[in-house]
Symmetry: D2
Subunit: 331 residues, 4 copies
C-alpha cells in the first residue's frame, strides 16, 4: 500500500485525493496546503493527517508525494521530495521558467527515484485508443497531426497573469500530446496568436486564440489550435493523417440522446470541462504511477517529458511575439 | 431509343417525365391526362405530343407506357397496354382491390411483355447498398428486419378516402421492401393501428400510426412502423439484424453541416419528402426498366411483386380491424 | 449511514456490493450466500460479516437488504425482510410465477416499508435524458415507442431452463422501460418469437428472437425487439416518436475514435454487455434507493411496477405460444 | 437562352458541357480544343459545333465562353474573350504567374463584362449552408477557421511539374474558401510543407503535405491543411469557431449504410473525388453565372477574387521555401 502525501488541496488536489483514495494500492496519508482550512477539510474527508511540507518530507512512512500546488513552487518541491527519497507525481507544467525546470531536471537526474509529470490526457481512453491504433499500424506511418483544444470559457485575468500565459498553461497539454503521438519532439515551432475572446487578456500581454505549427525533422507536421472559449463546452479532439488512413478522437458527449424536431437533429453537448471529461484519465494516470513505483519500471511521463513540453511553450511564446519560427534547439 | 407514352401528368407523372427525358435511351413521346391542360403543359416542357389513351395504345411508334394515373385505373390500363403490345411501368399500388389486381395478373400472364411495378425504393442507393451487403454475406443470415417509414405530414382526408388507407397506400412500399430484403413473403401479418395524428383520419375509418409484424415460415421476423407525421421530415430507415451483425440504412440529411452552440450539437434535418429523398431512385428505377426492356431480361419488380405487396396490405387491413393475425395464404 | 445486508454473492451481487460500498450514505454490513465461499470472499473484500439469512433478518442493526439471489427465492425473501422491518431492494424479476409475485405484493402491502425492484435501466443517464426530454415537452405527446434490446451472446441453455424464458428474464427490462416511458401499462400484448440463434434454446421451449407489440388504451403503440445475439455487442436503444419530434437514445461506444481507411469509416463497438453499459446505472439506482429510504419518500420503482412487468411477460409468453393477442386484464 | 462556347474539352470541360447543357437557360453552342478529336466527340454528344478559338471569338451569336484549357492559356483567353465582348467563366487558377494574372485583371478592368473564376466549392451546398449560418449570426463573430482538404491520391509527377505546385494548383481552392468564409484577405501567410507522399514530388521541387496559417488584420486566424493522399478518399471539411459556437461542414458519404459487426461499426467512405463530391456544385456555379449574366448583376466570384487567391498561393510558395511568414502586401 503506497502511502501518499498530497501537497496542495485546491481543485486539482481534490481530484487527486479521490483517485489516490479509490485506488486499491494507495492511501492518502497526509494533506498539506498553505491554506490550513483547505488542508483540514480535505484530510478529514479521507481520514488523512494534515502536515506541513517539512513534516511530509521528514515522514519516513510516506512513500510518495503528489504535488498540486501553484506552478512556481513545483521545481523546489520536486527537488525536496527527491532529496527525501520519495517518488513524485507533479502537476503540469514543471515550472514557468524553462531555466528553473532544466535546473531541477539536472538536480534530480540520477536519483533513481520515479518523478512523473501529470499530463493526464495521455491516459484518456480515447486518445489512448488513437495512439494504440497508430502503434498497431492501422493507418500506416503518421504524417499530419491536428489537435483541437478549446476551453469552455476563459479563466479570470488574475489567473492569466500568474499562469505563464496560454502556451505555458493551456497549450502545454497539447505540446505533450504531440510528443506522445508523434514519438518525437519537433525541430521548430511557429505560433500565431491573438486576443479575440477577452480584451483584458490581450491587455495582460497574453493571447486567447492561437494556432501553432510544429515541423519535424523527418518532414512530418503537426498543428495545434487553442481557444479560451467554446460556447458549447470543452472541445478536445485529435486527428491524425497517416499513409494509410485517418484516425480521429472525437469529443465525449453528455449523453447519447438525439432529438429530431422541426428545428433540426440535436445531440448533447461535449462533457463540460476537464473534470467531466478527464476524470477517468486522472484515475488511470494515478494507476500508472502506482504501478511504475511498485514495479520499479519507468514512469510513463518523465520529468524530461515535462521539460520538453515547457521548451515548446517557451518557443511558441517567442514565436507568437516575433512572428518568426523558433527552433527548439535554439531554446 | 425507347419511345414512351406517359399516362398521368400529375406530380408523380412530372417526376417520371423528367427521368424519361434525361435518360439517354428513352424519350417522352406523348403525355395523356384527363385534365387536358396538365397534359399540354407537361408535353410542351419536353417537346412531346398530347394523346388520348386510345391513341397512345394505337400508336405503333410508342414502345412503352408509364402509368401514373389514379390507382383505380391501373389494372385496366395495364391490360390495355399489354394487349397493345407495349412494355409497362405502372405506379404502385397495382390496384385498391386485390381481386382486381389478381385478375389483371392472370390476364397479362404469358404475354411475354415486361410489366414492372414502380416500387422506387428498391432503387434507393442506400437501401440498395444494404441489400448488397446482406447478399454479400457481410452480416451472415438475416434474422430480424425493422423498417421505419414516417411521412412528414398527413395528406388531406379527401386523399385518405380514395387512397385505400395507410396499409394500401403508404405501407405498401414497406411490404415490398420487406419482400425485397427478406427474399420471401411472410406467412402471417399482425397489425396494430390507431389514429393519433388527425382525428379526421380516424373518422374516415383509417389509421395514421401503425406497427405491423411479419412472421416468416423459417422463423424470421420483420416489423414495420408507419406514421403519417414526423415533425422533422421524411424518416426512411431500415435496420436488419443478421447472425453476424447489423446493417442500418440511415436517413439522408439536407446537408452535412453541424452547429455546436450552448443549446447542443445540431445537424440538418432529413431530406424533406419523397421528391427530395428518392429522386435518384426514380431515375435508377427508370434506367432498370429501360435496360430490362432493351435487353429482354426480367424486370426487377414484377406485376406479381405488386400483387404480393397488395395482398399483405389487405391482410394488414383485416388484422388491424380484427386484432388477430391474418395468414397470407388465407387472403 | 444505511447498513445493508446483501443476500446473494454472485455476479450481480458483486456489482451491488461495490455500489453499496462506494456510496457515502451506506455500508455493506453483511453478505449471505448458499455458497459459503462466495459469501466469505465478497465479505472480506469490503470488510463485512458473513451471515445466514435468518441472522440477517434478526440483526436489528441491519436497515436494508439487497436481494440478489436466484429468482425463485425473491418473493419469500421480500416477505421475510418486510416482516423483519427492513427496507428492500430486490433484483428483477419479482418471481417466475406471476401468482406468487401477486401474493407477495398483497402480503407486503400496507407495511409502509420501502420495497424497490431493481430495474436498473431506468437509471441509465441516456434513457433518463430521453425521459426528461419527453416530460419537458420537447417532442409533444408520445405516440410510438420502439425499444431495441439485443444481448451480445446467448446464455447457456442450462440458464434458459431456469430463467423463465426470454420474456420473463430478458424482455422484462423492456416491459418496465415501456411502462416508465409511456407512463401507463398497455391494454394488450402481441408477441411473435422464434428460435434462430441457438436450436437448443428452441428445443428447451424458449425463443431467442422476438418482437412484441403493446397497444395502449389511448391508441399509442410500443414495439420491443429482442435477440439473444448481436455479434457487435450489447445493443440497447430507445426511440420515441412524438407529435412534435423524435427522441433516440443511442448506444454508448467503447471510445470515440473513428478510423477512416480504404475499407471504410469505422467507429468503436457498443460497450460490451450490461456490466460495461449499466455500471453508472447501478450506482444511480442504489443512490435513489438510499435517498428514498432516508427521506421516507416513495421508491422510484415499486414492487407493483415489478408485478406489472411480470404480468406483461406472462402475457407475451402466452401470446407467442397462441399467436393471438393477450389482454393484460385477462392475466 | 445563353449560347456558350466551351474552350477545352478535357475532363473538366466535360463536366461543364453537361452543366451548360442541362441548364434551362443556356445551350452549348461550340466546343474548341487543341485536340480536334476531343472537341469533335464532346460537341457531337451535345449537338454543338466544333470551332477554332478565333472563330469562337468572332461568332456574334456566342454570348459567353467557358475557359477550361491549361492554366498557362487562361489570361490570354480571358483577354481575348472580353475584347470580343463575351461574358467569361474561367477555371481556376487565373494563371501560374501572379504578374500575368494582375496584368490580365488590369486589362479587362472597366470592360463591364462579367468575368467569373471557377471556384466551384463556393457553390457546394454544405459549404454554402455553413456560410449561410455564419452570415445569419448563428455562431456570433468568426474567430478561427480550419480547412481540411486532402486528395485521395497524388497526380502523376508530370502534372505536378506544370501545375505550379500544391499551393497554386490545389490549395488555391482553400485560399479562395478562406476569403469567402472570412470575408477578407489575410495580412500574412505562413506555410510549412514537405514531401511525405511521393519522393518524386519532392524531387520535382514541390510539397505534397502542407499546413498554412493565415493571420488577419483583426486578429482572426485561419489554418489550411492539405495532403495529396487520403487512403479513404476525398476529404473536404471546414470548421469555424465563432464567439457563440462552432460550425462544421463534414464530408458527404457514398451512402448512409452503417454495418456493425465484431470488427466495429463501419460507415461508407466519403464520395471519392471532386467529380463525385462537387457535381452539384458545378451545376450551381453555372447557374449562378447564367443568372449574373442575364440579370446584369455582379458575378459571385470575380477575376479579382481569382487574383487574390493566386497572390496567397504565391505567398505560401515563398513562405514554404524561406520558412518565414510572407505579408500579402509585399507580394
Amino acid at each position: 500500500m503506497l502511502k501518499v502525501g498530497l501537497i496542495g488541496a485546491g481543485r486539482i488536489g481534490n481530484v487527486h485525493a479521490k483517485a489516490i483514495s479509490l485506488h486499491p494500492g494507495s492511501e492518502l496519508a497526509s494533506v498539506s496546503d498553505v491554506f490550513g482550512e483547505a488542508a483540514e477539510k480535505l484530510a478529514a474527508q479521507y481520514g488523512a493527517k494534515v502536515l506541513g511540507i517539512d513534516a511530509v518530507m521528514a515522514d519516513r512512512s510516506i512513500d510518495a508525494v503528489l504535488i498540486a500546488t501553484s506552478t512556481d513552487t513545483h521545481s523546489a518541491l520536486i527537488e525536496a521530495a527527491v532529496a527525501a527519497g520519495k517518488a513524485v507525481l507533479c502537476e503540469k507544467p514543471v515550472d514557468l521558467s524553462l531555466e528553473r525546470a532544466q535546473a531541477c531536471l539536472k538536480k534530480v537526474a540520477g536519483s533513481g527515484l520515479p518523478v512523473m509529470i501529470g499530463f493526464n490526457r495521455r491516459f484518456d481512453p480515447n486518445f489512448g485508443a488513437l495512439k494504440g491504433a497508430l502503434d498497431g499500424g492501422e493507418i500506416g506511418k503518421s504524417e499530419l497531426l491536428s489537435i483541437t483544444s478549446f476551453d469552455p470559457a476563459p479563466p479570470p485575468v488574475s489567473y492569466i497573469k500568474v499562469s505563464g500565459g496560454l502556451f505555458r498553461d493551456m497549450m502545454i497539454h497539447d505540446f505533450d500530446m504531440a510528443n506522445f503521438i508523434m514519438g518525437d519532439a519537433p525541430l521548430s515551432v511557429l505560433a500565431v496568436g491573438s486576443s479575440l475572446v477577452d480584451p483584458e487578456i490581450g491587455a495582460a500581454g497574453d493571447v486567447d486564440t492561437a494556432v501553432v505549427t510544429l515541423a519535424y525533422a523527418d518532414g512530418r507536421i503537426a498543428v495545434i489550435k487553442n481557444s479560451r472559449r467554446a460556447a458549447y463546452g470543452y472541445d478536445q479532439r485529435i486527428e491524425l493523417l497517416g499513409s494509410k488512413g485517418l484516425l480521429q478522437a472525437h469529443n465525449m458527449l453528455e449523453n447519447t440522446v438525439v432529438k429530431s424536431t422541426v428545428d433540426g437533429v440535436t445531440a448533447a453537448k461535449p462533457t463540460y470541462f476537464f473534470l467531466e471529461r478527464y476524470m477517468p484519465a486522472y484515475a488511470a494516470e494515478w494507476d500508472a504511477f502506482v504501478k511504475a513505483v511498485v514495479n520499479g519500471t519507468p514512469v510513463p511521463v518523465s520529468l524530461e517529458d515535462g521539460v520538453k513540453a515547457l521548451a515548446m511553450a517557451e518557443a511558441a511564446t517567442r514565436s507568437a511575439r516575433s512572428g518568426l519560427p523558433v527552433r527548439l534547439d535554439a531554446i
